[in-house]
Protein backbone atom coordinates (compact mmCIF):
# COMPACT_ATOMS: atom_id res chain seq x y z
CA UNK A 1 0.00 0.00 0.00
CA UNK A 2 1.36 3.44 -0.91
CA UNK A 3 1.21 6.22 1.69
CA UNK A 4 -1.61 7.78 -0.32
CA UNK A 5 -3.54 4.51 -0.28
CA UNK A 6 -2.89 4.13 3.41
CA UNK A 7 -4.18 7.66 4.10
CA UNK A 8 -7.25 6.87 2.02
CA UNK A 9 -7.92 3.67 3.95
CA UNK A 10 -7.49 5.50 7.23
CA UNK A 11 -10.09 8.06 6.23
CA UNK A 12 -12.46 5.23 5.47
CA UNK A 13 -11.68 3.55 8.74
CA UNK A 14 -12.54 6.81 10.50
CA UNK A 15 -15.93 6.70 8.74
CA UNK A 16 -15.15 9.77 6.69
CA UNK A 17 -17.03 10.14 3.44
CA UNK A 18 -15.06 10.22 0.21
CA UNK A 19 -16.27 12.98 -2.10
CA UNK A 20 -16.12 13.13 -5.93
CA UNK A 21 -13.15 15.37 -6.46
CA UNK A 22 -10.97 13.73 -3.85
CA UNK A 23 -8.24 11.26 -4.62
CA UNK A 24 -9.25 7.60 -4.63
CA UNK A 25 -7.59 4.37 -5.76
CA UNK A 26 -8.46 3.23 -9.28
CA UNK A 27 -9.84 -0.02 -7.93
CA UNK A 28 -12.16 1.83 -5.58
CA UNK A 29 -13.45 3.95 -8.44
CA UNK A 30 -13.87 0.97 -10.76
CA UNK A 31 -15.58 -1.17 -8.17
CA UNK A 32 -17.94 1.63 -7.29
CA UNK A 33 -18.79 2.33 -10.92
CA UNK A 34 -19.57 -1.33 -11.47
CA UNK A 35 -21.64 -1.64 -8.32
CA UNK A 36 -23.55 1.62 -8.69
CA UNK A 37 -24.06 1.07 -12.41
CA UNK A 38 -25.45 -2.40 -11.83
CA UNK A 39 -27.64 -1.03 -9.11
CA UNK A 40 -28.93 1.73 -11.40
CA UNK A 41 -29.54 -0.79 -14.21
CA UNK A 42 -31.42 -2.98 -11.76
CA UNK A 43 -33.75 -0.12 -10.95
CA UNK A 44 -34.72 0.50 -14.56
CA UNK A 45 -34.87 -3.15 -15.59
CA UNK A 46 -36.78 -3.69 -12.37
CA UNK A 47 -39.52 -1.46 -13.72
CA UNK A 48 -40.42 -4.14 -16.25
CA UNK A 49 -41.71 -7.08 -14.22
CA UNK A 50 -43.96 -4.82 -12.18
CA UNK A 51 -44.82 -2.64 -15.15
CA UNK A 52 -46.20 -5.81 -16.67
CA UNK A 53 -49.24 -5.52 -14.38
CA UNK A 54 -49.88 -1.78 -14.46
CA UNK A 55 -52.46 -2.09 -17.21
CA UNK A 56 -54.12 -4.98 -15.37
CA UNK A 57 -54.10 -3.70 -11.81
CA UNK A 58 -57.39 -4.76 -10.23
CA UNK A 59 -58.55 -1.43 -8.76
CA UNK A 60 -57.89 2.23 -9.41
CA UNK A 61 -56.08 2.53 -6.11
CA UNK A 62 -53.85 -0.46 -6.79
CA UNK A 63 -53.11 0.94 -10.23
CA UNK A 64 -52.10 4.29 -8.75
CA UNK A 65 -49.93 2.68 -6.08
CA UNK A 66 -48.20 0.45 -8.61
CA UNK A 67 -47.63 3.33 -11.03
CA UNK A 68 -46.14 5.41 -8.24
CA UNK A 69 -43.90 2.56 -7.26
CA UNK A 70 -42.58 1.85 -10.73
CA UNK A 71 -42.09 5.56 -11.18
CA UNK A 72 -40.05 5.62 -7.96
CA UNK A 73 -37.83 2.93 -9.41
CA UNK A 74 -37.11 5.10 -12.42
CA UNK A 75 -36.31 7.86 -9.96
CA UNK A 76 -33.90 5.60 -8.08
CA UNK A 77 -32.25 4.81 -11.38
CA UNK A 78 -31.85 8.52 -11.94
CA UNK A 79 -30.25 9.13 -8.50
CA UNK A 80 -27.85 6.28 -9.00
CA UNK A 81 -26.82 7.19 -12.53
CA UNK A 82 -26.23 10.72 -11.28
CA UNK A 83 -24.20 9.45 -8.35
CA UNK A 84 -22.18 7.25 -10.72
CA UNK A 85 -21.58 10.23 -12.98
CA UNK A 86 -19.64 11.90 -10.15
CA UNK A 87 -17.06 9.17 -10.74
CA UNK A 88 -16.55 10.27 -14.34
CA UNK A 89 -18.77 7.89 -16.24
CA UNK A 90 -21.80 9.18 -18.15
CA UNK A 91 -25.28 7.70 -18.00
CA UNK A 92 -25.15 7.00 -21.73
CA UNK A 93 -21.88 5.07 -21.34
CA UNK A 94 -23.43 2.98 -18.61
CA UNK A 95 -26.56 2.36 -20.65
CA UNK A 96 -24.45 1.36 -23.63
CA UNK A 97 -22.84 -1.29 -21.45
CA UNK A 98 -26.21 -2.49 -20.21
CA UNK A 99 -27.47 -2.76 -23.76
CA UNK A 100 -24.46 -4.61 -25.11
CA UNK A 101 -24.53 -7.03 -22.21
CA UNK A 102 -21.19 -6.06 -20.67
CA UNK A 103 -22.85 -4.82 -17.50
CA UNK A 104 -25.43 -6.78 -15.56
CA UNK A 105 -28.54 -6.01 -13.57
CA UNK A 106 -30.00 -7.96 -10.67
CA UNK A 107 -30.94 -11.43 -11.86
CA UNK A 108 -34.18 -11.40 -9.91
CA UNK A 109 -35.74 -9.32 -12.66
CA UNK A 110 -35.31 -12.19 -15.09
CA UNK A 111 -38.19 -13.96 -13.40
CA UNK A 112 -41.69 -13.32 -14.75
CA UNK A 113 -44.64 -11.79 -12.90
CA UNK A 114 -47.43 -14.21 -13.68
CA UNK A 115 -50.26 -13.19 -11.38
CA UNK A 116 -51.28 -10.17 -9.38
CA UNK A 117 -49.92 -11.90 -6.28
CA UNK A 118 -46.48 -11.69 -7.87
CA UNK A 119 -46.74 -7.93 -7.57
CA UNK A 120 -47.26 -8.45 -3.87
CA UNK A 121 -44.40 -10.92 -3.66
CA UNK A 122 -42.03 -8.64 -5.54
CA UNK A 123 -42.75 -5.84 -3.09
CA UNK A 124 -42.58 -8.03 -0.04
CA UNK A 125 -39.67 -10.32 -0.91
CA UNK A 126 -37.68 -8.63 -3.64
CA UNK A 127 -37.88 -5.15 -2.19
CA UNK A 128 -37.44 -6.72 1.23
CA UNK A 129 -34.18 -8.33 0.16
CA UNK A 130 -33.11 -5.16 -1.63
CA UNK A 131 -33.63 -3.10 1.51
CA UNK A 132 -31.65 -5.62 3.51
CA UNK A 133 -28.79 -4.97 1.09
CA UNK A 134 -29.31 -1.24 0.91
CA UNK A 135 -29.84 -0.16 4.49
CA UNK A 136 -26.18 -0.75 5.44
CA UNK A 137 -25.10 0.99 2.23
CA UNK A 138 -26.48 4.23 3.61
CA UNK A 139 -23.25 4.20 5.62
CA UNK A 140 -21.05 3.39 2.64
CA UNK A 141 -17.82 5.36 2.27
CA UNK A 142 -18.58 7.14 -1.00
CA UNK A 143 -20.57 10.28 -0.24
CA UNK A 144 -22.84 10.54 -3.29
CA UNK A 145 -23.63 6.82 -3.12
CA UNK A 146 -24.41 7.04 0.57
CA UNK A 147 -26.74 9.98 0.05
CA UNK A 148 -28.49 8.27 -2.86
CA UNK A 149 -29.04 5.19 -0.71
CA UNK A 150 -30.56 7.27 2.08
CA UNK A 151 -33.18 8.65 -0.30
CA UNK A 152 -33.79 5.28 -1.87
CA UNK A 153 -34.19 3.40 1.40
CA UNK A 154 -36.92 5.74 2.56
CA UNK A 155 -39.01 4.89 -0.48
CA UNK A 156 -38.16 1.22 -0.62
CA UNK A 157 -39.46 0.45 2.85
CA UNK A 158 -42.71 2.06 1.80
CA UNK A 159 -42.77 -0.22 -1.25
CA UNK A 160 -42.18 -3.25 0.83
CA UNK A 161 -45.14 -2.43 3.05
CA UNK A 162 -47.31 -2.00 -0.03
CA UNK A 163 -46.20 -5.39 -1.33
CA UNK A 164 -46.98 -7.01 1.97
CA UNK A 165 -50.36 -5.31 1.97
CA UNK A 166 -51.18 -6.92 -1.38
CA UNK A 167 -50.11 -10.28 0.02
CA UNK A 168 -52.35 -9.79 3.04
CA UNK A 169 -55.34 -9.08 0.85
CA UNK A 170 -54.59 -12.07 -1.35
CA UNK A 171 -53.86 -14.46 1.52
CA UNK A 172 -57.09 -13.42 3.25
CA UNK A 173 -59.07 -13.43 0.02
CA UNK A 174 -60.87 -16.09 -1.99
CA UNK A 175 -59.34 -19.58 -2.25
CA UNK A 176 -58.05 -18.67 -5.72
CA UNK A 177 -56.40 -15.55 -4.36
CA UNK A 178 -54.80 -17.44 -1.52
CA UNK A 179 -53.53 -20.04 -4.00
CA UNK A 180 -52.01 -17.26 -6.09
CA UNK A 181 -50.31 -15.84 -3.00
CA UNK A 182 -48.84 -19.22 -2.10
CA UNK A 183 -47.75 -19.81 -5.67
CA UNK A 184 -46.05 -16.42 -5.77
CA UNK A 185 -44.17 -17.20 -2.57
CA UNK A 186 -43.17 -20.57 -3.99
CA UNK A 187 -41.73 -19.00 -7.12
CA UNK A 188 -40.07 -15.98 -5.54
CA UNK A 189 -38.62 -17.47 -2.37
CA UNK A 190 -35.38 -18.94 -3.69
CA UNK A 191 -34.74 -16.23 -6.28
CA UNK A 192 -35.04 -13.74 -3.39
CA UNK A 193 -32.47 -15.67 -1.36
CA UNK A 194 -30.20 -15.57 -4.41
CA UNK A 195 -30.34 -11.78 -4.40
CA UNK A 196 -27.70 -11.71 -1.66
CA UNK A 197 -25.28 -13.54 -3.90
CA UNK A 198 -23.37 -16.75 -3.24
CA UNK A 199 -21.60 -17.30 0.04
CA UNK A 200 -18.74 -14.80 0.48
CA UNK A 201 -16.39 -17.69 1.13
CA UNK A 202 -16.37 -18.08 -2.64
CA UNK A 203 -15.74 -14.43 -3.47
CA UNK A 204 -12.32 -12.78 -3.75
CA UNK A 205 -13.70 -9.30 -4.25
CA UNK A 206 -15.65 -9.19 -1.04
CA UNK A 207 -12.76 -8.61 1.37
CA UNK A 208 -11.45 -5.57 -0.46
CA UNK A 209 -14.95 -4.16 -0.91
CA UNK A 210 -15.64 -4.55 2.78
CA UNK A 211 -12.38 -2.82 3.67
CA UNK A 212 -13.42 0.07 1.43
CA UNK A 213 -16.88 0.08 2.98
CA UNK A 214 -18.46 -0.42 -0.44
CA UNK A 215 -19.83 -3.66 0.87
CA UNK A 216 -20.92 -3.55 4.50
CA UNK A 217 -21.96 -7.09 5.39
CA UNK A 218 -21.30 -10.56 4.10
CA UNK A 219 -23.86 -12.08 1.80
CA UNK A 220 -24.56 -14.84 4.27
CA UNK A 221 -25.20 -12.43 7.14
CA UNK A 222 -27.73 -10.53 5.09
CA UNK A 223 -29.40 -13.68 3.78
CA UNK A 224 -29.78 -14.98 7.33
CA UNK A 225 -31.27 -11.70 8.44
CA UNK A 226 -33.69 -11.75 5.53
CA UNK A 227 -34.86 -15.27 6.29
CA UNK A 228 -35.29 -14.49 9.97
CA UNK A 229 -37.32 -11.40 9.15
CA UNK A 230 -39.44 -13.00 6.44
CA UNK A 231 -40.40 -16.35 7.93
CA UNK A 232 -42.67 -14.89 10.64
CA UNK A 233 -44.22 -12.58 8.04
CA UNK A 234 -45.09 -15.61 5.90
CA UNK A 235 -46.53 -17.33 8.94
CA UNK A 236 -48.67 -14.29 9.69
CA UNK A 237 -50.01 -14.50 6.15
CA UNK A 238 -50.83 -18.17 6.63
CA UNK A 239 -48.47 -19.09 3.81
CA UNK A 240 -45.86 -21.82 3.72
CA UNK A 241 -42.25 -21.09 2.86
CA UNK A 242 -41.32 -23.72 0.25
CA UNK A 243 -38.47 -25.25 2.25
CA UNK A 244 -38.79 -28.57 4.12
CA UNK A 245 -35.59 -27.91 5.96
CA UNK A 246 -36.63 -24.56 7.34
CA UNK A 247 -36.46 -24.69 11.13
CA UNK A 248 -35.70 -22.35 14.01
CA UNK A 249 -32.27 -22.97 15.46
CA UNK A 250 -32.41 -21.85 19.07
CA UNK A 251 -28.68 -22.15 19.49
CA UNK A 252 -27.69 -19.74 16.71
CA UNK A 253 -30.76 -17.60 17.26
CA UNK A 254 -31.79 -17.87 13.65
CA UNK A 255 -33.38 -20.18 11.12
CA UNK A 256 -31.68 -23.05 9.41
CA UNK A 257 -32.78 -23.10 5.79
CA UNK A 258 -31.98 -24.63 2.42
CA UNK A 259 -29.57 -22.98 0.05
CA UNK A 260 -31.04 -21.86 -3.25
CA UNK A 261 -30.01 -23.73 -6.39
CA UNK A 262 -26.76 -21.94 -7.23
CA UNK A 263 -26.60 -23.62 -10.60
CA UNK A 264 -29.78 -21.84 -11.50
CA UNK A 265 -28.31 -18.60 -10.16
CA UNK A 266 -25.25 -18.83 -12.38
CA UNK A 267 -27.34 -19.95 -15.34
CA UNK A 268 -29.63 -16.93 -15.03
CA UNK A 269 -26.64 -14.59 -14.69
CA UNK A 270 -25.18 -16.18 -17.80
CA UNK A 271 -28.35 -15.27 -19.71
CA UNK A 272 -30.34 -18.44 -19.25
CA UNK A 273 -33.27 -17.24 -17.19
CA UNK A 274 -36.95 -17.14 -18.03
CA UNK A 275 -36.98 -13.49 -19.12
CA UNK A 276 -33.38 -12.41 -19.80
CA UNK A 277 -33.87 -11.96 -23.52
CA UNK A 278 -37.13 -10.11 -23.06
CA UNK A 279 -35.98 -7.79 -20.31
CA UNK A 280 -32.88 -6.68 -22.15
CA UNK A 281 -34.80 -6.65 -25.41
CA UNK A 282 -37.40 -4.30 -23.93
CA UNK A 283 -34.70 -1.91 -22.71
CA UNK A 284 -32.85 -1.93 -26.01
CA UNK A 285 -36.07 -1.42 -27.95
CA UNK A 286 -37.08 1.52 -25.74
CA UNK A 287 -33.66 3.05 -26.28
CA UNK A 288 -33.56 2.50 -30.04
CA UNK A 289 -37.17 3.57 -30.60
CA UNK A 290 -36.41 6.70 -28.61
CA UNK A 291 -33.34 7.76 -30.60
CA UNK A 292 -35.26 10.17 -32.84
CA UNK A 293 -36.79 11.73 -29.74
CA UNK A 294 -33.48 12.31 -27.99
CA UNK A 295 -31.94 13.58 -31.23
CA UNK A 296 -34.85 15.96 -31.68
CA UNK A 297 -34.43 17.45 -28.22
CA UNK A 298 -30.70 17.78 -28.75
CA UNK A 299 -31.15 19.52 -32.09
CA UNK A 300 -33.63 21.91 -30.55
CA UNK A 301 -31.26 22.70 -27.70
CA UNK A 302 -28.51 23.46 -30.21
CA UNK A 303 -30.79 25.67 -32.28
CA UNK A 304 -31.88 27.52 -29.16
CA UNK A 305 -28.32 28.01 -28.04
CA UNK A 306 -27.37 29.29 -31.50
CA UNK A 307 -30.30 31.70 -31.44
CA UNK A 308 -29.29 32.91 -27.98
CA UNK A 309 -25.78 33.37 -29.24
CA UNK A 310 -26.96 35.33 -32.28
CA UNK A 311 -29.07 37.50 -30.02
CA UNK A 312 -26.19 38.15 -27.63
CA UNK A 313 -23.92 39.07 -30.55
CA UNK A 314 -26.31 41.71 -31.87
Amino acid sequence: MTPQERAFQERIDRNEKIEPKEWMPDGYRKTLIRQMGQHAHSEIVGQLPEGNWITRAPTLERKAILLAKVQDEAGHGLYLYSAAETLGVSRDELLEKLHNGSMKYSSIFNYPTLTWADIGAVGWLVDGAAIMNQVPLQRTSYGPYSRAMIRICKEESFHQRQGYDIMMKMAAGTPEQKAMAQDALNRFWYPSLMMFGPSDKDSVHSTQSMAWRIKMNTNDELRQKFVDQTVPQAKYLGLTVPDDKLVWNEEKGGHDFSEPDWNEFFAVIAGNGPCNAERLGARVKAWEDGAWFRDGLMAHAEKSAARQGALAAE
Binding site: I44, Q47, L48, G51, I54, T55, R56, A57, P58, T59, L60, E61, R62, K63, A64, L67, A68, V70, Q71, A74, G75, G77, L78, Y81, R91, W116, I166, K169, M170, G173, T174, E176, Q177, A282, K285, A286, W287, D289, G290, A291, W292, F293, R294, D295, G296, L297, M298, A299, H300, A301, K303
Partner: protein, 258 residues
Protein backbone atom coordinates in the same frame (compact mmCIF):
# COMPACT_ATOMS: atom_id res chain seq x y z
CA UNK B 1 -87.69 22.78 -9.51
CA UNK B 2 -89.94 19.72 -9.75
CA UNK B 3 -88.76 16.28 -8.67
CA UNK B 4 -89.01 14.99 -12.21
CA UNK B 5 -86.79 17.79 -13.46
CA UNK B 6 -84.23 17.05 -10.75
CA UNK B 7 -84.27 13.38 -11.74
CA UNK B 8 -83.48 14.31 -15.32
CA UNK B 9 -80.70 16.56 -14.20
CA UNK B 10 -79.18 13.84 -12.09
CA UNK B 11 -79.16 11.44 -15.03
CA UNK B 12 -77.48 14.06 -17.22
CA UNK B 13 -75.10 14.89 -14.41
CA UNK B 14 -74.19 11.21 -14.03
CA UNK B 15 -73.71 10.95 -17.77
CA UNK B 16 -71.51 14.02 -17.81
CA UNK B 17 -69.43 12.86 -14.85
CA UNK B 18 -68.73 9.62 -16.65
CA UNK B 19 -67.49 11.59 -19.63
CA UNK B 20 -65.05 13.53 -17.52
CA UNK B 21 -64.02 10.51 -15.48
CA UNK B 22 -63.67 8.18 -18.46
CA UNK B 23 -61.47 10.66 -20.30
CA UNK B 24 -59.12 10.64 -17.33
CA UNK B 25 -59.27 6.87 -16.94
CA UNK B 26 -58.69 5.91 -20.55
CA UNK B 27 -55.99 8.50 -21.19
CA UNK B 28 -54.35 7.57 -17.89
CA UNK B 29 -54.41 3.93 -18.93
CA UNK B 30 -52.94 4.60 -22.35
CA UNK B 31 -50.18 6.75 -20.92
CA UNK B 32 -49.42 4.13 -18.27
CA UNK B 33 -48.61 1.68 -21.06
CA UNK B 34 -45.34 3.61 -21.51
CA UNK B 35 -44.14 3.06 -17.96
CA UNK B 36 -40.69 1.46 -18.26
CA UNK B 37 -40.50 1.97 -22.03
CA UNK B 38 -40.11 5.71 -22.57
CA UNK B 39 -37.18 7.09 -24.61
CA UNK B 40 -35.38 8.62 -21.62
CA UNK B 41 -35.51 8.15 -17.87
CA UNK B 42 -36.79 11.68 -17.24
CA UNK B 43 -39.62 11.07 -19.71
CA UNK B 44 -40.46 7.79 -18.09
CA UNK B 45 -40.87 9.51 -14.77
CA UNK B 46 -42.82 12.41 -16.20
CA UNK B 47 -45.23 10.29 -18.21
CA UNK B 48 -45.84 7.95 -15.30
CA UNK B 49 -46.58 11.01 -13.25
CA UNK B 50 -49.17 12.13 -15.79
CA UNK B 51 -50.74 8.68 -15.69
CA UNK B 52 -50.78 8.77 -11.93
CA UNK B 53 -52.48 12.16 -11.82
CA UNK B 54 -55.10 11.04 -14.31
CA UNK B 55 -55.87 7.85 -12.40
CA UNK B 56 -56.18 9.93 -9.24
CA UNK B 57 -58.60 12.26 -11.01
CA UNK B 58 -60.52 9.22 -12.25
CA UNK B 59 -61.06 8.11 -8.67
CA UNK B 60 -62.55 11.49 -7.83
CA UNK B 61 -64.73 11.93 -10.90
CA UNK B 62 -66.02 8.39 -11.07
CA UNK B 63 -66.44 8.38 -7.31
CA UNK B 64 -68.70 11.40 -7.63
CA UNK B 65 -70.43 9.82 -10.64
CA UNK B 66 -71.23 6.74 -8.59
CA UNK B 67 -72.51 8.92 -5.76
CA UNK B 68 -74.73 10.92 -8.11
CA UNK B 69 -76.03 7.74 -9.72
CA UNK B 70 -77.00 6.54 -6.25
CA UNK B 71 -77.20 2.85 -7.11
CA UNK B 72 -74.49 1.68 -4.76
CA UNK B 73 -71.80 1.38 -7.43
CA UNK B 74 -68.25 2.53 -6.74
CA UNK B 75 -65.63 4.20 -8.92
CA UNK B 76 -64.01 0.77 -9.32
CA UNK B 77 -67.32 -0.76 -10.38
CA UNK B 78 -67.62 1.87 -13.07
CA UNK B 79 -64.04 1.48 -14.21
CA UNK B 80 -63.84 -2.29 -14.23
CA UNK B 81 -67.33 -3.59 -14.82
CA UNK B 82 -68.74 -1.52 -17.67
CA UNK B 83 -68.33 -2.80 -21.21
CA UNK B 84 -67.13 -0.49 -24.00
CA UNK B 85 -70.59 0.76 -24.99
CA UNK B 86 -71.07 2.24 -21.52
CA UNK B 87 -67.84 4.22 -21.63
CA UNK B 88 -68.22 7.92 -22.36
CA UNK B 89 -64.68 9.07 -23.13
CA UNK B 90 -63.93 10.91 -26.36
CA UNK B 91 -62.29 8.85 -29.11
CA UNK B 92 -59.10 10.90 -28.92
CA UNK B 93 -58.00 9.42 -25.60
CA UNK B 94 -58.45 5.81 -26.68
CA UNK B 95 -56.21 6.18 -29.75
CA UNK B 96 -53.28 3.76 -29.52
CA UNK B 97 -50.04 5.30 -28.28
CA UNK B 98 -48.07 5.05 -31.52
CA UNK B 99 -44.56 6.40 -31.12
CA UNK B 100 -43.68 8.70 -28.23
CA UNK B 101 -44.35 11.74 -30.40
CA UNK B 102 -47.86 10.58 -31.16
CA UNK B 103 -48.44 10.02 -27.47
CA UNK B 104 -47.21 13.52 -26.67
CA UNK B 105 -49.33 15.10 -29.39
CA UNK B 106 -52.45 13.34 -28.10
CA UNK B 107 -51.50 14.51 -24.64
CA UNK B 108 -51.03 18.11 -25.70
CA UNK B 109 -54.29 18.23 -27.65
CA UNK B 110 -56.11 16.86 -24.63
CA UNK B 111 -54.19 18.83 -22.00
CA UNK B 112 -55.00 22.12 -23.68
CA UNK B 113 -58.71 21.20 -23.70
CA UNK B 114 -58.52 19.78 -20.20
CA UNK B 115 -57.00 22.99 -18.83
CA UNK B 116 -59.77 25.11 -20.34
CA UNK B 117 -62.38 22.77 -18.93
CA UNK B 118 -60.95 22.63 -15.43
CA UNK B 119 -60.49 26.38 -15.32
CA UNK B 120 -64.19 26.81 -16.02
CA UNK B 121 -65.25 24.00 -13.69
CA UNK B 122 -63.71 25.75 -10.71
CA UNK B 123 -66.70 28.07 -10.90
CA UNK B 124 -69.18 25.18 -11.02
CA UNK B 125 -72.49 25.55 -9.20
CA UNK B 126 -71.77 22.14 -7.67
CA UNK B 127 -69.12 22.58 -4.98
CA UNK B 128 -67.97 18.96 -5.32
CA UNK B 129 -67.21 19.56 -8.99
CA UNK B 130 -65.46 22.83 -8.25
CA UNK B 131 -63.32 21.17 -5.62
CA UNK B 132 -62.18 18.30 -7.81
CA UNK B 133 -61.51 20.72 -10.64
CA UNK B 134 -59.36 22.91 -8.41
CA UNK B 135 -57.21 19.96 -7.41
CA UNK B 136 -56.99 18.58 -10.95
CA UNK B 137 -56.24 21.98 -12.48
CA UNK B 138 -52.96 22.22 -10.59
CA UNK B 139 -51.86 18.87 -12.00
CA UNK B 140 -53.06 19.54 -15.50
CA UNK B 141 -51.36 22.93 -15.64
CA UNK B 142 -48.14 21.01 -15.26
CA UNK B 143 -49.16 18.38 -17.86
CA UNK B 144 -49.89 21.13 -20.35
CA UNK B 145 -46.69 22.99 -19.65
CA UNK B 146 -44.72 19.83 -20.21
CA UNK B 147 -46.52 18.54 -23.31
CA UNK B 148 -46.52 21.98 -24.95
CA UNK B 149 -42.82 22.36 -24.26
CA UNK B 150 -42.03 18.97 -25.83
CA UNK B 151 -44.23 19.65 -28.86
CA UNK B 152 -42.25 22.81 -29.48
CA UNK B 153 -38.87 21.16 -29.00
CA UNK B 154 -39.66 18.15 -31.18
CA UNK B 155 -41.50 20.15 -33.82
CA UNK B 156 -38.53 22.49 -34.09
CA UNK B 157 -35.93 19.73 -33.64
CA UNK B 158 -34.56 17.49 -36.38
CA UNK B 159 -36.25 16.96 -39.73
CA UNK B 160 -37.32 13.54 -38.51
CA UNK B 161 -38.77 14.75 -35.23
CA UNK B 162 -40.56 17.52 -37.10
CA UNK B 163 -42.06 15.07 -39.58
CA UNK B 164 -43.15 12.68 -36.89
CA UNK B 165 -44.84 15.44 -34.93
CA UNK B 166 -46.54 16.81 -38.02
CA UNK B 167 -47.81 13.35 -38.91
CA UNK B 168 -49.06 12.88 -35.36
CA UNK B 169 -50.93 16.17 -35.52
CA UNK B 170 -52.43 15.34 -38.91
CA UNK B 171 -53.55 11.91 -37.80
CA UNK B 172 -55.01 13.01 -34.48
CA UNK B 173 -56.62 16.17 -35.80
CA UNK B 174 -59.93 14.53 -36.81
CA UNK B 175 -60.32 13.36 -33.22
CA UNK B 176 -60.25 16.84 -31.71
CA UNK B 177 -63.65 18.04 -32.89
CA UNK B 178 -65.49 15.81 -30.48
CA UNK B 179 -63.99 17.70 -27.55
CA UNK B 180 -66.03 20.77 -28.43
CA UNK B 181 -69.29 19.28 -29.69
CA UNK B 182 -72.33 20.08 -27.53
CA UNK B 183 -75.25 17.75 -27.03
CA UNK B 184 -78.32 17.57 -24.79
CA UNK B 185 -76.32 16.26 -21.85
CA UNK B 186 -73.87 19.12 -22.13
CA UNK B 187 -76.75 21.54 -22.40
CA UNK B 188 -78.43 20.13 -19.30
CA UNK B 189 -75.35 20.44 -17.09
CA UNK B 190 -74.58 23.84 -18.58
CA UNK B 191 -78.12 25.04 -17.82
CA UNK B 192 -77.63 23.89 -14.25
CA UNK B 193 -74.40 25.88 -14.05
CA UNK B 194 -72.43 22.71 -13.39
CA UNK B 195 -70.17 22.86 -16.41
CA UNK B 196 -69.44 25.05 -19.42
CA UNK B 197 -70.70 24.06 -22.85
CA UNK B 198 -67.87 22.27 -24.66
CA UNK B 199 -68.18 24.68 -27.57
CA UNK B 200 -67.39 27.56 -25.25
CA UNK B 201 -63.91 26.12 -24.63
CA UNK B 202 -62.93 26.09 -28.27
CA UNK B 203 -61.66 29.67 -28.54
CA UNK B 204 -59.28 29.28 -25.61
CA UNK B 205 -58.02 25.95 -26.93
CA UNK B 206 -57.51 27.39 -30.41
CA UNK B 207 -55.39 30.16 -29.02
CA UNK B 208 -53.07 27.83 -27.11
CA UNK B 209 -52.93 25.50 -30.10
CA UNK B 210 -52.02 28.22 -32.57
CA UNK B 211 -49.35 29.61 -30.29
CA UNK B 212 -47.71 26.24 -29.61
CA UNK B 213 -47.88 25.00 -33.18
CA UNK B 214 -46.40 28.22 -34.50
CA UNK B 215 -43.46 27.89 -32.14
CA UNK B 216 -43.18 24.21 -33.04
CA UNK B 217 -43.18 25.10 -36.76
CA UNK B 218 -46.05 22.66 -37.25
CA UNK B 219 -49.00 23.22 -39.56
CA UNK B 220 -52.50 22.95 -38.17
CA UNK B 221 -54.50 20.75 -40.60
CA UNK B 222 -57.35 22.27 -42.53
CA UNK B 223 -59.39 19.06 -42.71
CA UNK B 224 -62.78 19.86 -41.29
CA UNK B 225 -64.32 16.40 -41.03
CA UNK B 226 -64.27 15.08 -37.49
CA UNK B 227 -64.87 11.73 -35.84
CA UNK B 228 -67.42 11.46 -33.09
CA UNK B 229 -69.21 8.85 -31.02
CA UNK B 230 -67.19 8.34 -27.87
CA UNK B 231 -69.33 10.66 -25.76
CA UNK B 232 -72.39 8.57 -26.55
CA UNK B 233 -70.69 5.19 -26.28
CA UNK B 234 -69.89 4.50 -29.94
CA UNK B 235 -66.16 3.93 -29.72
CA UNK B 236 -63.35 2.79 -31.97
CA UNK B 237 -62.37 -0.86 -32.20
CA UNK B 238 -59.44 -0.15 -29.89
CA UNK B 239 -61.40 0.38 -26.69
CA UNK B 240 -62.62 -3.20 -26.42
CA UNK B 241 -59.05 -4.53 -26.40
CA UNK B 242 -57.97 -1.96 -23.85
CA UNK B 243 -60.83 -2.93 -21.54
CA UNK B 244 -60.29 -6.68 -21.97
CA UNK B 245 -56.82 -6.16 -20.56
CA UNK B 246 -57.70 -3.56 -17.94
CA UNK B 247 -60.70 -5.39 -16.56
CA UNK B 248 -59.36 -8.94 -16.59
CA UNK B 249 -58.93 -9.49 -12.87
CA UNK B 250 -62.25 -7.97 -11.86
CA UNK B 251 -64.00 -9.99 -14.56
CA UNK B 252 -62.20 -13.27 -13.84
CA UNK B 253 -62.56 -13.08 -10.05
CA UNK B 254 -65.88 -11.38 -9.45
CA UNK B 255 -66.43 -10.14 -5.94
CA UNK B 256 -62.83 -10.59 -4.80
CA UNK B 257 -61.13 -7.88 -2.73
CA UNK B 258 -57.72 -6.67 -3.84
Amino acid sequence: MSTAATAVDQAAFFEWLQRVGDNALILGHRVSEWCGHAPALEEDIAISNTALDLIGQTQLWLGLAAEVEGKGRSADNLAFLRDAGAFRNVLLVERPNGDFGRTLMRQFLFDAYHMELLRALQGSSDPRVAEIAAKAAKEVAYHLERSADLIVRLGDGTAESHDRMQQALTELWPYTGELFADDATDQAVADAGIAPLPSSLKAGWDKVLRHVMAEATLTIPEASWQHKGGKTGVHTEHLGFLLAEMQFLQRAYPGATW
